[in-house]
Amino acid sequence: MAEAARLKLALSDDEPFLGHKACAGCGGSLAVRLALKVLGERTFVVLPAGCMSAVGFLYPQLAFGCNAIISTFAGTASMMSGIAAAARALKLRDYHVVGFAGDGGTADIGLQALSGAIDRHENFIYICYDNEAYMNTGVQKSGLTPFGARTTTSPVGPHAAGARSRKKDIFEIVAAHGIDYAATATVAHAHDYIRKVERARTTVGTSFLHVLAPCPTGWGIETSETLAARGFSPCEQQTRLGASAACRMT
């Protein structure tokens, strides 16, 4: 992947996502920044209510160098569908539509819209940055919080031992739709992630990337540990989200 190799991971002067207010060590903002370096300026970005919209464009401090818009929490994929439809109708050329939604915005409240969009083979890239809880609202349990994980709504005490449900297998859920391209990744392995964004960029139809994006604030880890942290996930997920990330075409 010559393109991936060419990309400098370090900050440059023409970053498409710069000047935001994310916490130090934020895995989610790294996922956004790296993907936009691949996709470039001719990109329409959709972000639902959540961390990235809260830190990315708080008027008048707008951190995106490309087109960007906040969707409803449940409406990432449906708003992207509308953008993709309008781009077709207006006969735009040479552009990308990408959405960045968290684990809750994807696997819980946004799942219906995501399902419909994949079903229509909408031509866009959906990136789920998974920090394993609702971090923007203060670390509450989501559908992608692993079993046993302690969050503010799945506390640990004499009558409870953290999250009571298994982490939803969002990759399999998405893949079962017959999606055009789906892959897992982690921000810890940036070149692998970038390679997969590249693949999504050239895919006709819907692409879905599930990228593990540690949240030092929510996980209680040092901000220097973002790229080392692996989350508290079941073994099967560790395999998926590790260096040898599964990559599936259907």
């Binding site: 995106f64 409406g75 449906s78 040479d94 229509r120």
Partner: protein, 401 residues
């Protein structure tokens, strides 16, 4: 794909209110239609889908997975400067509730038809106005339609109003479920070329574009939020004048106009006036004629706009009335009909202090008969200024109910 432009139909076509809306949407040439089926709106999107299939309508038709997604997709499309249309009803409108506020706050000039239908529980698919009046404050321009011709014409006018540079606010076209959506009438279908001349393609600098990338629908904190909301409020207020201008221009071009925000019928010198909205205006008008023939100074004030609310026109039209009733198909539980509240509020600023009564009728599709309307006028004539809390009448309630 090129689509052959339709000529003006030499004879009126026999069509339902739903089909009239579909025709209006077709003639407006939307780039994107995103819709989800719900009774009694379905025929609108069925016709549009058929025309797409037949090559008569060149649009991106999205089969979305919910009403929430329908409006969300319309917002995404509108953010690129595309013309967008959708249609819904009742539960679907409420399922959109979050997106309604998003769309108006984002200043997306979407046009949406709403088939007015009752809200569950109890489950009920028939017409009343509880749905749209429950979202009166959502920032949408609300237009209430009386017949199928008006439905077609106002769908076209709706885009002209919504997309006006001084407005940029979404429009909700309300048609009474079944009574209007499923009633067939002869409707004049204008030529595509004439509609194109009246409604040119939507152009706006406020959009996401590849040439000038921008952020839309961002976050604004306490330091800036108020200013955006004040702008939004002023824009929808301007829609009253713009709607009137659009209607006059439409009248010049097509020979039909609908009279702006309110339509007074025999209100001049009227002593007793019934204010109403939607398709029931037909029998109220007939009743007014009947009463006038008997020497009763009766009148009707039809409201076409509920938002922006035509306060001045209402006060002016009711300036001579001693008795004013409001007939509506909804109730704001715990108080009274939503329209009655608005009309009463407007009259509080008027020198005239008529006696006021609120007639809540037609809930869940119950028929409103000529006799019902006549009885309303009878009761109104003997009305006195009622103590607070005694102004609401539920019409035709079974005694054992």
């Amino acid at each position: 794909m090129s689509v052959e432009a339709t000529a003006r139909q030499p004879q009126p076509l026999f069509m339902s209110g739903n089909e009239a809306v579909a025709w209006g949407a077709r003639l407006a040439r939307p780039h994107v239609i995103a819709a989800y089926p719900i009774t009694p709106q379905t025929v609108v999107i069925e016709r549009l889908a058929e025309w797409v299939a037949e090559g008569k309508l060149d649009t991106e038709f999205l089969h979305v997975e919910s009403e929430h997604s329908a409006l969300s997709a319309c917002m995404g499309a509108s953010a690129l400067g595309a013309r967008t249309f959708t249609a819904t009803s009742s539960q679907g409108l409420l399922y959109m509730a979050e997106c309604l506020q998003y769309a108006s706050g984002g200043r997306f000039p979407i046009v949406m038809m709403n088939a007015n239908r009752a809200l569950a529980l109890p489950w009920n698919i028939y017409g009343d106005q509880q749905d749209s009046l429950a979202v009166l404050s959502s920032g949408w321009i609300q237009i209430y339609i009386e017949d199928a011709q008006e439905a077609l014409d106002m769908t076209i006018q709706g885009f002209a109003i919504a997309e006006h540079a001084e407005v940029l606010t979404p429009v909700m076209l309300n048609l009474d479920g079944f009574v209007l959506t499923h009633t067939y009438e002869p409707v004049d279908v204008p030529a595509q070329a004439d509609v194109d001349a009246f409604l040119p393609p939507f152009r706006t600098p406020s959009k996401m574009s590849l040439e000038a990338p921008t952020s839309m629908g961002f976050t604004a904190g306490p330091a800036h939020y108020t200013e955006f909301k004040v702008q939004q409020h002023r824009a929808i207020l301007r829609a009253e004048r713009v709607a009137s201008e659009v209607d006059q221009e439409f009248g010049r071009r097509f020979g039909r106009s609908y009279g702006g925000a309110v339509v007074p019928y025999r209100c001049e010198g009227a002593d007793v006036v019934l204010v109403t909205l939607g398709s029931v205006a037909g029998i109220v008008r007939e009743t007014v004629d009947k009463l006038r023939a008997r020497g009763v100074a009766a009148g009707m004030l039809k409201l076409r706009l509920m938002r922006p609310f035509p306060e001045r026109e209402i006060v002016q039209a009711l300036s001579t009335a001693r008795f004013v009733g409001v007939l509506e198909k909804d109730v704001s539980f715990g108080y009274r009909g939503a329209v009655f509240s608005e009309v009463s509020s407007a009259l509080a600023g008027s020198a005239a202090r008529p006696a006021l009564l609120n007639f809540v009728a037609g809930l869940g599709g119950r028929d409103i008969s000529r006799n019902d309307v006549e009885q309303m006028f009878v009761e109104l004539q003997s009305a006195t200024v009622r103590p607070l809390g005694e102004q609401v009448r539920f019409v035709g309630v079974n005694s054992n109910g």
